[in-house]
């Protein structure tokens, strides 16, 4: 719509309606988050009251957060989630980075066949190998270890594709010049390609972090002991289906778990939006 459109009253009405709908959408996005926050501050009876209240009316009970914090060992689960995330990121950048670099910049013969080997896996539905993947890990004795996450993370054709496309966009001449100056291939990768790949590595980091933070089902299958559960699985096992846990404390825990990603997102949102553009639409 242009300036001239807005002169016509019917278009102004249309714009008003659009604005209203979008504003409603934004409110509906924010409402659940605010509800979680306010419910964390109520007494259990108030949360259970019908019709439900929005802002706490029976006092603001900050002690709920302390009770929620102590209900399950949040720091340990957080540590597990971060361990999974860091390991996944390292494996991705090192293993898939080297492979993408080789396919993109090193003129390996039969590279098309090798690419096929990697990329055909994208066409196989995950449901087909969900359970066999678990059986395979069991056969290899990797159940209940963190390697059960890190190693399959290196088998992501999607991440490989992102890295390869990015490396393709780097100029070959740079690497030719470096090779002529005597740099080994390892140096080309480590001191030339990797520093230039910060944009795509950040994008990957965002995807991998989101994956690690959200994944609750696979860890519940692969891990057996409490010590090793990541945060999402712990929430699933102990909070969602918990009996005898007051709703207000449940909301307190949920809100505390919700807060770090939101804070990280809001502070980094500019980079994240840019990263999504990089990984999504081309040109």
């Amino acid at each position: 719509m242009s300036r001239y459109d807005h002169r016509r009253p019917i278009n102004r009405l249309l714009y008003g309606i659009i604005y209203l709908i979008v504003a409603l959408m934004a409110c509906s996005m924010l409402y659940p988050i605010l509800v979680a926050m306010f419910n964390s501050l109520k007494t259990n009876t108030e949360v259970n009251s019908f019709p439900p209240t929005f802002i706490p009316l029976n006092g603001w009970h900050w002690s709920n957060f302390e009770k929620g914090w102590n209900f399950i060992d949040l720091p340990m689960f957080l540590r597990n989630t971060l361990t999974i995330f860091v390991g996944n990121l390292v494996v991705t950048v090192v293993v898939l980075g080297l492979a993408a670099f080789s396919l993109s910049k090193m003129n390996v013969p039969k590279s098309k066949v090798i690419s096929m080997f990697f990329l055909i896996t994208l066409f196989i539905p995950p449901t087909t190998y969900l359970i066999p993947n678990f059986l395979n890990l069991k056969d290899l004795g990797l159940v209940n270890t963190f390697a059960a996450f890190w190693l399959p993370a290196g088998a992501s054709a999607f991440n490989l594709l992102l890295l390869k496309n990015f490396f393709d966009s780097l100029h070959q001449e740079m690497f030719e010049a470096a090779r002529m100056d005597g740099a080994s291939e390892l140096r080309c990768f480590g001191q030339l390609a990797v520093p230039l790949s910060i944009p795509i590595i950040s994008t990957l980091a965002i995807f991998i972090f989101s994956n690690a933070w959200n994944d609750w089902f696979w860890p519940s299958l692969v891990m057996h002991s409490d010590h090793k559960y990541p945060l999402a699985t712990a929430i699933y096992k102990y909070v969602i289906s918990a009996r005898g846990l007051g709703l207000n404390i449940r909301f307190a825990i949920l809100f505390m778990v919700m807060l770090p990603p939101i804070v990280v997102f809001l502070t980094l949102q500019r980079f994240i939006m840019r990263g999504l553009h990089l990984g999504g639409v081309k040109g």
Partner: protein, 309 residues
Amino acid sequence: MSHSALPIQPSETNQTRRTGIVQILRKHLWGYLFLLPALLLFAIFLWLPIIKGFVYSFYYIDFVKGNTFVGWDNYKTVFDDPNVGKSIYNTLYYMGLALVMGFWVPIVFSIAISEIRRFQGFFRVAAYLPNVIPVVVLYGLWRWFYDSVGPINAGITKTFGGEGIAFMTDTSWSMISIVFMETWQQFGSAMLLYLAAVLSIPRDWYEAAEIDGAGVWMRIRHITLPSVKGLIVLMLLLQLIGTSQGFQAQLAMLDGGPNNATLTYALLIVKYATTRLELGVASAMGVLMFIVLGVLAILQFRLQNKGDN
């Protein structure tokens, strides 16, 4: 005898063959070395499970006593189980609902937000915010929202009276509730992709159309939508593939209930593996899905080629 000013080059036979495998390996040593870790990981953690899936579908898996070969028994179990038919129906229903309720939302909102002049950034962030929240937290939140004494029902009973809707325990509402929740959570990321595409359409086209007398709606129909057609097709494909594998929300929120109303195909596979401990049958179901999707992909490929001809 020939004299030459230049020293005579050693003949070909004094050197090893230039085209042997060893030579290729030596020349591209680093290339292959870099590929090696990824090749190993893909082979061991992706291809091996896939092959094992096919193999194990013919076995009865027992972790204690060892696996026994059972031939086609697992497949027979699959075809005899009435739950399988229900799960296929549920999965198709889920995919259809996701299309009807959720596919157009990001497109419409991306066009709407592209028109917004003030606070566009704020709305973009607000739309993406639910995507940032861990899924499990959302399950907990929406369980409360959908509760018969929750806020949604409070609103409904206040405005319409009556008993309210049992979003989670009513078989007809349960899948719809899940799709609504997932649309709410996920439309932000698709919307951002569409928004990027819509914002990259050159302004001149709109101005030219406007000068020619096209109204707002005509401009959207003839400029905006055709320009994002490629993206729409891609997202449609991705959504269909994704929803066909859906099971996590159904498992966490309702455990396939009420009365198997939300039991999707993937969820049934999971249940066969985890609660019934019949991993061979679970593998067989996975193989069947692979075959069905593979056939569909080939059909679609053939249709496309015929269309080009």
